[in-house]
């Protein structure tokens, strides 16, 4: 072994050598790029995915919502897909609905905290909303109670009462932690 390697020295520096170096790097690089590229291509797939298009979902009946200005929590039930699994209608989140005295219209607030996405709950006394994670507090109509870690009020959802008396809510999610309400 040692006898054969001895006569292959550093070799004459020149054009041919430079080309060989360049080619070696290019071939090796290209060969390695294929698996990395294929991997990244698949890995970045979620960036092309959009959330399910927002649609109005029936949440409850108007008659089930007392007109006392007190928000009540209702589950949002809909079909959903998780990658390869399709789910028949199941709870995917919750909204608070509220109706003022004698009013036929309903206000809807998403139960998802606009701060970091925890589940906002009614305080035991029913006087305000409070997020159990970082203590963001909101009034019963969703406004910020200062000082609050949350950058914006609770997210109001579009809401309408259908002819048959069903309360329908446009189920949407918004980016957490920013002052503007941006659909996710």
């Amino acid at each position: 072994m040692s006898g054969r390697t001895a006569d292959v020295g550093p070799g004459p520096a020149g054009r041919r050598n430079f080309l060989a170096e360049l080619l070696a790097i290019a071939c090796g690089g290209l060969a390695t790029l294929a698996p990395i590229g294929a991997g990244l291509w698949a890995f970045l797939d979620p960036l092309r995915r959009k959330g399910a298009a927002a649609s109005f979902l029936p949440v409850t009946e108007l008659s089930a919502l007392p007109d006392d200005g007190v928000p009540r929590q209702f589950a949002v039930i809909t079909e959903r897909a998780d990658a390869w699994t399709g789910f028949a209608a199941e709870p995917v989140g919750a909204v608070y609905l509220r109706r003022e005295k004698g009013s036929g219209t309903v206000e809807a607030l998403s139960a998802t905290c606009p701060h970091a996405g925890c589940f906002v709950e009614m305080e035991s006394g029913g006087r305000c909303f409070r997020c159990p994670c970082h203590n963001s507090t909101f009034t019963l109509d969703g406004g910020i109670v200062a000082p609050s870690p949350s950058p914006r009020p609770m997210d109001a959802l579009e809401c309408r009462v259908a002819k048959n008396g069903e309360v329908e809510v446009k189920w949407q999610k918004f980016r957490a932690g920013v002052a503007e309400k941006v659909v996710q």
Binding site: F43, L44, P46, L47, R49, K50, G51, P58, T60, E61, S63, A64, Q73, A75, V76, R80, D82, A83, W84, T85, E90, P91, V92, G93, A94, A111, H115, A116, G117, C118, F119, E121, E123, S124, G125, R127, R130, P132, C133, H134, N135, A146, P147, S148, P149, S150, P151, R152, A162, N164, G165, E166, K173, R175, A176, G177, V178, A179, Q184
Partner: protein, 678 residues
């Protein structure tokens, strides 16, 4: 190749020695071993040098236990919780394996902090070791990244909600934030791909990067040698075996502590003479993740609590505050740490570095203490001196103008009470957390109980089973849909009176059982708040019957009433098993009798028409309860005398009812106490 000395030694050696020579000749392993083991330790082996080695040991432990866990783990939204349950509660020794992995991760964070503190205090980051210090910081972030990603993998409630917070925080990074968030959760919703990606990070990308960095970290450590602490009091020693012995003892101590933490709850139970159950062994497993179920006990692992608490510091700063708390300040701290080798060259640089590091550690400690104090405040605060303030709060509803009026404008007193109100608010928040944590433990225990059924977990996963469980879902449905009118409280329990007084419909505790029927047929109770007292039936036929006919000892003997009670419980299928058939028969005949109960109530084919009073055929059975919850205005129940109860299962044409048939069934089962028991 002519080396006569080797030949002569071959002649003297046995087969093992010759094999070693053969290997060394081909690999040169002896030189490598010599290089690795015979490092000079200036000033002799010392305990203070063990921290780096314990970290390597902790990492090796995680690799070993992690690989074995991997062999049984399945990353998907329908199998993650399920497979971790199987590891923890069904596989022999699974609890120990998972326990070591879980608690060694925490030990690793502690060891990291100690290692870093020592390096900074000893000034070991200075030339020529700067690059190695930087590598160490990167290693630290990789370890914290593995801790963060590992927390989600069981797909239980606490991991799920903690991950929602963590990934939402990633989303507020400028420009790339939303893309990063979408990439790590694998789309816009949390699910299969959140798990597969977190698992790939936890078990592939991050440890792979960590091993690469660790190899360089250790190589550079050997290149520069150990940063010996002066003055030397003893002569130099060799790494092997002097320092290795101390390292090994330290590793054993770390493992002993981890095993101690795993076994402590079980040992404690044994010492107290309590039975040891599965929950005592190893790491906790919460209830399966449920995006529709609030989790008020959501907290990160204890070593991230300071970051969690730090977000609360920026209350009122809005989006800027969250950006500062989650991104800018932690980023600046890491930035300063990266600059330490350069800062250390200045005159007071080293002192600054030490003070800065100690300050960060102290700040993190303080924030952790604050977080714990907020959560557990109600446990250690003395509530007795606040009783009066609480009374005032209840009276005024927390209204400050009403308070001023109540105290006659006494400014000093108002100030005192307002301070006490703030204390009470802290107690309420803490109590809410403690209640939520307790509920979380109950939910977890129930999920584990259900998963252990002989029928095992259905293919759709544990969540389906939990959602179909009357014991855990019943109270939630009842609280949401029934409790605004009905009470469900043991009348003998303390505080029951106040709850009953507030209710506007019957107490449904033990409905269908003899105890409930005995109260209904008691003249003293039937018009009370536990039965018809707060309803439109307060002056109805049933009340006058119980207070008139039943109270008349000539018409109704005590034994007859008792027979009716037993017969009704038997109708519901909830009678005591020891009841004599003769009494049952007599009771049933009395109920059916057209001169007694049967005058109004139908029972089987006693000839009474529906419409005058609820049908007692199958009273209190699942079918009966489902019927009355679905539509109490049906002739079988209250017809047009129905008080205010909504028809939960009926809906207008094309609309969905308030409660699904499954939900109504769950309520019926829960009221009857009909649920899976191991």
């Amino acid at each position: 190749m002519n080396r006569p000395d080797t030949r002569s030694s071959v002649a003297r050696k046995g087969p093992l020695g010759r094999l070693a020579d053969f290997l060394d000749d081909r690999t040169g392993y002896r030189a490598v071993m010599h290089e690795a083991l015979y490092e000079r330790v200036p000033g002799g082996a010392r305990w203070r040098y063990v921290w780096g080695s314990t970290l390597v040991f902790a990492f090796m432990t995680q690799v070993i236990t992690g690989l074995f866990l991997w062999a049984s783990y399945s990353a998907s939204a329908q199998t993650a919780w399920e497979s971790v349950y199987y590891i923890q509660h069904e596989m022999t020794g699974g609890w120990l394996l998972r326990g070591i992995h879980h608690f060694m991760a925490q030990a690793m964070v502690v060891l990291l902090a100690l290692h870093l503190l020592q390096v900074v205090i000893d000034g070991a980051y200075r030339a020529p070791r700067e690059v190695n210090f930087w590598l160490g910081l990167v290693l630290m972030m990789l370890v914290l990244g593995m801790a963060l990603t590992g927390y989600l993998l069981p797909w239980d409630q606490k991991g799920y909600w903690a991950t929602i917070v963590a990934t939402n925080l990633a989303g507020i990074v400028p420009v790339f934030g939303p893309s990063i968030q979408q990439l790590v959760i694998g789309g816009t919703e949390y699910g299969h791909h959140t798990l597969t990606r977190f698992f790939a990070l936890h078990a592939g990308f991050l440890p792979g990067a960590l091993i690469l960095m660790l190899v360089v970290h250790l190589a550079l450590f050997r290149k520069h040698g150990l940063h010996a602490k002066r003055p030397f009091t003893r002569p130099d020693a060799m790494f092997w075996p002097d320092q290795v012995l101390k390292d090994a003892v330290a590793m054993l101590a770390v493992m002993a502590v981890v095993l101690g933490v795993i076994l402590m709850p079980a040992l404690r139970a044994m010492l107290l003479g309590e039975p040891v159950h599965a929950g005592h062994l190893g790491a906790e497993l919460g209830a399966p993740a449920d995006p529709s179920l609030p989790y008020a006990a959501a907290r990160p692992e204890w070593y991230f609590l300071f970051l969690f608490q730090f977000l609360k510091v920026f209350e009122g700063w809005g989006a800027t505050g969250e950006f500062l708390g989650a991104i800018v300040v932690p980023g600046l701290i890491m930035g300063v740490m990266f600059l330490m080798p350069i800062i250390g060259n200045w005159r007071l640089g080293h002192r600054f570095n030490v003070a800065f590091t100690l300050g960060v550690v102290a700040g993190a400690g303080l924030l952790t203490a604050m977080a714990l104090n907020e959560d557990y405040y109600a446990l250690w605060v003395d509530k007795a001196p606040l009783a009066e303030a609480q009374k005032l709060y209840d009276e005024t509803g927390g209204d400050e103008t009403k308070l001023a009026a109540a105290l006659g404008g006494d400014a000093a007193r108002i100030g005192v009470v307002q301070r006490q109100w703030r204390k009470l608010e802290k107690i309420r928040h803490s109590q809410a957390f403690l209640d939520a944590a307790k509920q979380a433990r109950l939910d977890a225990a129930r999920a584990i109980e259900l998963a252990g059924r002989p029928e095992k977990i259905p293919p759709a996963g544990m969540l389906e089973l939990v959602r179909a469980d009357a014991k855990s879902q019943g109270p939630r449905l009842f609280a949401q849909h029934c409790a605004s009118c009905h009470a469900h409280v043991d009348p003998r329990s303390p505080g029951a009176e106040a709850i009953l007084a507030k209710a506007s419909a019957a107490n449904l505790f033990e409905f269908g059982r003899a105890s409930w029927m005995r109260g209904l047929l008691d003249p003293a109770q039937v018009a009370g708040p536990a039965y018809f007292g707060n309803t439109a039936h307060k002056e109805g036929d049933m009340v006058s019957f119980v207070q008139g006919d039943l109270a008349d000892a000539d018409q109704w003997k005590k034994d007859d009433i008792e027979a009716v009670i037993v017969a009704m419980a038997s109708e519901a299928g909830l009678a005591d098993p020891g009841v004599q058939p003769a009494i049952l028969e007599r009771g049933r005949a009395l109920v059916a009798d057209g001169e007694r109960c049967g005058g109004c109530h139908k029972l089987g084919d006693n000839g009474t028409d529906l419409g005058s009073a609820p049908d007692l055929t199958g009273w209190g059975t699942r079918d009966w309860l489902v019927g009355i919850i679905t539509d109490p205005t049906h002739a079988r129940f209250y017809g047009d005398t129905n008080d205010r109860m909504p028809s939960f299962g009926k809906a207008a044409e094309g609309a969905a009812p308030m409660l699904s048939p499954q939900q109504i069934g769950l309520l019926a089962d829960w009221l009857r106490g009909d649920w899976y028991r191991p």
